[in-house]
Every structure is written in C-alpha cells, then in structure tokens.
Symmetry: C2
Subunit: 153 residues, 2 copies
DNA sequence: TTAATATTCTACTATATTGATAGAATAAAT
DNA sequence: ATTTATTCTATCAATATAGTAGAATATTAA
C-alpha cells in the first residue's frame, strides 16, 4: 500500500502542476486545499525539494513550485523518494538492489522471477506516468462527469 | 514490500508442494530447513490453515500438508491472507474495496486510474502463478545452474 | 489410561515505521 | 527592522511487524 506521505505528495504535486508557470504556491494553501496536515506536508515537500522535484522560495511572495516540467516528473520517481523502492523484494529492485536477508541462494529462488515480473510491470506503469498525465486524468474525468450531469437535467 | 510473514509462507509452501502427496510435515522440519523462527512459522501456518490453504494433523505422525492441489493455490491468495490486499490504494482493491479516507471525490481522482492499472497487473501476475509454478521455477533454475557448473569443469 | 507427540490458543514483548506536532533558526522582501 | 515563509531539530503517539513463552488440546501408541 502507498503511504499517506506518497499519496499527499501526489495530491500536492497535482495542484502544483495545475499552477505550473504561475509562480510559487504557499505550503499553507496546498495544505488547506488538499486537507493535509500542514507540518506534515512541510516535511514531504522538503524531501521532494532535496531530490530536485521541487524548488522553493523563502520570504514574502515565496512558496513551492515544480523544479522541472511536469511531463518530466514520473510517479515512480516521486513514490520511490517517499516510500522507497517499488519492488516487492529487495533482491529484484533495480534502483536499490539488496540481497534478501533470509535468502540462502538467490539464483535458484522460485519466488524471485515472479516478484521481478511484478516489479517490472509496476515500474513500467509508474515510470511511464508523469504529473502531466495525472492532471490530464483529473481534467478528462471532471469533463466526463459534467457531461453526465448535463445529460441528467 | 512483501512482509517476512508472506515470504516465509511462500518458502514453507514451496517445500510442502515438493512433498505433496507424501503425508504431513512437521513445523519444526519446515522451520529448520528454511531457517524460519519456529514459533513465528507456527502462527503463519495456522492462518493459512484457517483459510483452507493447509490441512493439519495433531499428535504423532502429524504436521502440515497442503489443503488442496498445488496448482490450485495462487500466490495472490497466499499474499492476501498474510499481507492484505494487493492494491496500492484501498479504493482500487477488488477483494477489499474501501474509500480512501482523505479522498473527497473518488470519481475525479487522477491517481486512481494509475493505481488501478498497477493493482490489475499485480493481480494478473500473482493470481496467475500457482505453487506448482513456484516449484517448477526452483527446479528449472537448479537444473540450469547445474548445467553451467558442468560446463565450467 | 498414561505417556509422548504435535498442533493450537492466549498473551505478551521489542523494535521499526508511520503519521504527525512544536518551536527555534534562517532567508528574503518591504 | 519587521513581516513573511521556508528550513531545521527534536520529539511524540499510534500502529504494524517480527518474534517469544507457555499452557491447553488433540492424537497416537504402548
């Protein structure tokens, strides 16, 4: 399961994507609009900043903004920063390989190839989806709902 | 990440698959062979028994055995019992749907369709892989390694 | 029917992770 | 200087994970 940290991050980033190119947004605005505890969001945004996903400006007129174009930021990138590797076992992670501690002999482990496939499919999807895609999703889903509402009047 | 519980379960089940049809195996034998803390394995096997994956026999000559044929037990089934739903968000789980607590409006959430795809691919793989497949993996990997060793003599 | 064997049940305990908060320090703008 | 915001340090509560101890129960066999 995705942690709240990662979920909150994606929510805040979606908002920052919507406002991309229009200057910095306050933490408190993001927190209020997405109903995220402000101090908690603060630490999330800071981690994202330290990894280059976000930029920040201190003082009046300051706040947070995307550190690069939204079509160059993938969900995989963001989730790995907040929740760690996507792989279900350390021994099949591409970005953070580690031997499983219990594992005697990785080469003949029958579980590994299956988990490798899970990690590859997960990475394919999440590394192939950008913040722009996320915003497009929201917009097309919102459009679709409005049409349905009109139809029902 | 898979918990140790689920990993241990799959290791023990692989062994029980190998011995399928040859009567019950002692917890202590499973624990020793797979280097799993015995008391911990005990509780894992009990959960699997309560869900019909395993059968048990008490007393002398007792132990654990598969509750149904190994080609009818999927990894998805086992992992859900020990780690809960496969889905990265409760709102995209097929077997344990719940509304995300923070989520105002699920219908227009841009994250949801992506996570739905992740859960669908994960379920496709894990519900499509059985204990027999796991054992086949081990055996073909072991064969392949032996051939390589011979080649190097 | 008693002893031995093995699972089952109840109840803990330690450690790590998750989700969050408080307050001082620092930087920028006016 | 004052105001505005992020940044840093420290801490905290709740929950989940990993593991342990020991008594209770069921089965077999002598």
């Amino acid at each position: 399961m995705l942690s709240k940290k990662a979920k909150y991050a994606l929510q805040a980033l979606t908002l920052l994507t919507k406002e991309y190119g229009r200057g910095p947004i306050l933490i408190s605005d993001l927190a209020e609009k997405e109903r995220i505890p402000k101090k908690f969001l603060e630490s999330i945004l800071l981690s994202l900043k330290n990894k280059g996903i976000l930029q920040s400006k201190m003082g009046k007129g300051g706040g947070y903004l995307l550190g690069k174009p939204p079509d160059s930021i993938t969900l995989g990138e963001v989730i790995r920063i907040l929740d760690g590797p996507l792989a279900p076992l350390p021994c099949v992670s591409q970005t953070a390989y580690r031997k499983c501690d219990e594992c005697e002999d990785e080469i003949t482990c029958g579980i590994r190839p299956v988990m490798k496939e899970v990690r590859d499919e997960t990475a394919r999807i999440l590394d192939g989806t950008t913040l722009s895609d996320l915003l497009n999703n929201v917009e097309s889903l919102t459009r679709r709902r409005k049409e349905t509402l009109v139809f029902h009047i």
